[in-house]
Amino acid sequence: MHWDRKSMSRRSSTGRNNKIEDIITKMQDDKTGGVPIRTVKSFLSKIPSVVTGTDVVQWLMKNLSIEDPVEAIHLGSLIAAQGYIFPISDHVLTMKDDGTFYRFQAPYFWPSNCWEPENTDYAIYLCKRTMQNKARLELADYEAENLARLQRAFARKWEFIFMQAEAQVKIDRKKDKTERKILDSQERAFWDVHRPVPGCVNTTEMDIRKCRRLKNPQKVKKSVYGVTEESQAQSPVHVLSQPIRKTTKEDIRKQITFLNTQIDRHCLKMSKVAESLIAYTEQYMEYDPLITPAEPSNPWISDDVALWDIEMSKEPSQQRVKRWGFSFDEILKDQVGRDQFLRFLESEFSSENLRFWLAVQDLKKQPLQDVAKRVEEIWQEFLAPGAPSAINLDSHSYEITSQNVKDGGRYTFEDAQEHIYKLMKSDSYARFLRSNAYQDLLLAKKKPESEQGRRTSLEKFTRSVSSLSVAFPHEKSERAEHKACRCLVCLHGWFAMAMWLRTPRSCQGLSEARPLGPPSLHDGLREGSGIPSLSVSFEAWLLCG
């Protein structure tokens, strides 16, 4: 069975479900394989016009292509809770996959008729139930409580309610016995929807944002029992808070302009778009914790926050470093990545570009009152003649920017920022990815050390340096001469320093042979036949250990 567009498009402005009504109608249709509706013999009486839960569930599975019975039962329960089908022997509106009997609700009582029955109607109903001396019509506990409450609330007009109830009983008595059974049950089911059993979901509750667009905005309160409410004060009704604005010529002209712009837009073919979406998703799937289990574990599943602790540490994992290479935005998004990139640019003496970009991002985050000042600061630092961190803009962009600066708004540097972004992306970023700094991080197989571990190593190192100068013969001043020193002291110092230097910054430092860390030790170790081999193995250890 396939829903045709027409049935799907019957937009329900009430938020009520026309789809349910279609299903319910089809379910009752003999000709198209509906659920078998039977009269069942029971003891001395007959139970007219019922279906079994199993039949309903089976029908739903077959006709709505549902594979899992759990799903079908859930849907059946919802249809019941909305008031379209009900169990004949229970106030609680739910569906079971067994021989329990259900009856279809009369269309008169369907929710789409915009019922909002008053408490007076409910009072009449409960009252008349007490007048009918039948076991099956006995009030449930919650109904008795409701009745008591209503009697207190309507104390003054109880005589009126009583009379109405009596009138209803008279009308009911005139009906055929079987018809009455059916109607009574449908009426009860109606009240089960509008005055549900405590603890059950009240499905008549509506989304407060959508209330006012109901099909019956005039809210003509109709009574179930034909009672007119003159005494009830009309509560102020706001049909629509906004008058519907009529479409003007200007509106259509704007629309025409918009449509023309869209027609001229250059769009991609679906095949290209599909490839792009697939490529992006496939690239990131290993990073998606709900698809690829997170390492060491997903905190929500294991109750262990190790994953978050690792991410907080300044040392990026290999996986994280790899992600910086996916796109320029990726490295800009990650604080640690940005720092690495900045350091790289500093080494090339072109950090002003990134600093400008960051400054403009920051400008856009400022409160209104601070914007003008920041614009001036950025201009002075990066663009004014003689600026300390002058960035390179083409003359056209420079012209636009200097014009904008006069107004000093948050979008003053948009054009310039875009230029610099493109420049960094095509030039510096590409080179960064090829740089030793990045490649070393990428190839690192070491496990990221926790903050605690690193501090301890640092402590160890500083302690060892001071202990070296005190306890051992290699005085600070002498160490410079110990170029080929392989004594235990120096080795110990190396170990400790190596531990301390196990950060990306130091990796970079080591690989580019830049002095880092206490000069005394390092100086002594830079040259000399013995040490290079030592330092190579240490470096290797640093990167692989």
């Binding site: 069975m1 498009s9 937009r11 329900s12 479900n17 789809k19 349910i20 299903i23 292509s65 849907l75 919802l78 979901v201 509506m206 407060i208 944002r209 209330c211 667009r213 509560s235 102020p236 009704v237 706001h238 808070s241 906004q242 010529k249 259509i252 002209r253 025409i256 302009t257 023309n260 869209q262 837009r265 769009c267 991609l268 073919k269 679906m270 095949s271 778009v273 599909a274 792009s276 979406l277 697939i278 998703t281 990073y287 998606d288 914790p289 709900l290 698809i291 997903n298 905190p299 929500w300 599943i301 926050v305 978050w308 935005d329 991002q361 985050k365 400022q366 409160p367 209104l368 009152q369």
Partner: protein
Amino acid sequence: MSPRHRQMATEALHENETLASLKSEAESLKGKLEEERAKLHDVELHQVAERVEALGQFVMKTRRTLKGHGNKVLCMDWCKDKRRIVSSSQDGKVIVWDSFTTNKEHAVTMPCTWVMACAYAPSGCAIACGFKQFSCLSLPSSWDYSGLDNKCSVYPLTFDKNENMAAKKKSVAMHTNYLSACSFTNSDMQILTASGDGTCALWDVESGQLLQSFHGHGADVLCLDLAPSETGNTFVSGGCDKKAMVWDMRSGQCVQAFETHESDINSVRYYPSGDAFASGSDDATCRLYDLRADREVAIYSKESIIFGASSVDFSLSGRLLFAGYNDYTINVWDVLKGSRVSILFGHENRVSTLRVSPDGTAFCSGSWDHTLRVWA
């Protein structure tokens, strides 16, 4: 003719046009636009995705249940720290939780108020609430819309036990009808709001000043989402006019619009690359729209799903779309293949709000059953 010339010629012609002829012109342009787009529709996403490996069996469970609201939960948002969340309910209560421990860290109750929207500031130091406040004298029935205030307020989060959270509240936005959504931009200093008055607006938090307003929806705006790009200045909104519209935050202009849903759009969310976005609607479908194709590229629906989708969000890679529905369930969709991967039961009433956590390790759903659940 260049676009500009065509536009000028069109405008000149329209001086003396009647409304009817303008409408028919618009209709014919719509037809032409559809024609042009159709030419590029050479294949379906799910067809190309046939070569993609199918996802394995999905076992997602509720890992945390947050109880504390006394009424329907209407909205929630994650803090950037990946564990704190803010949630708001129809009885005026706003709670900040450490959802990992399920501890409540802050709470404020606004009497006679429906708090329909809430958001966490990027710094984690403040929250925003979009609400409709009534005079306490007239209790609202489902019909009475004579409410007084439709505002968005920002509350700094303080850990001083003596300080009342409401003390330093800042009133930021004002609309002429209910606030349906609010979101900070990438700064604590700006807030974007969507309203039942049919507009969206960008506000400066410090001064409460309106920075930009966005007009174009023909009915209530129900949802919005900011583009994830580092450099982007756009956002998408969805409304009761069945339209999803993409806006330029600088100019206030609508740059793209999509109208294929058959009922209210309750939720919109960008695909993580920012090139597409998903929507959830009362027509019981979710759809994917691509900005480069300027077209709907996928529809997520089933015959057995007949209740509206209230909120949608993507998993980190964009492969999964989680959608909460008015039938109390959450359906998990394979975005590329278009098939449903899983159905999650648990909530006992409508799912009203759903967001994936900032690092994608879990998602949180809020419901009319007064609870929030974190799933992983």
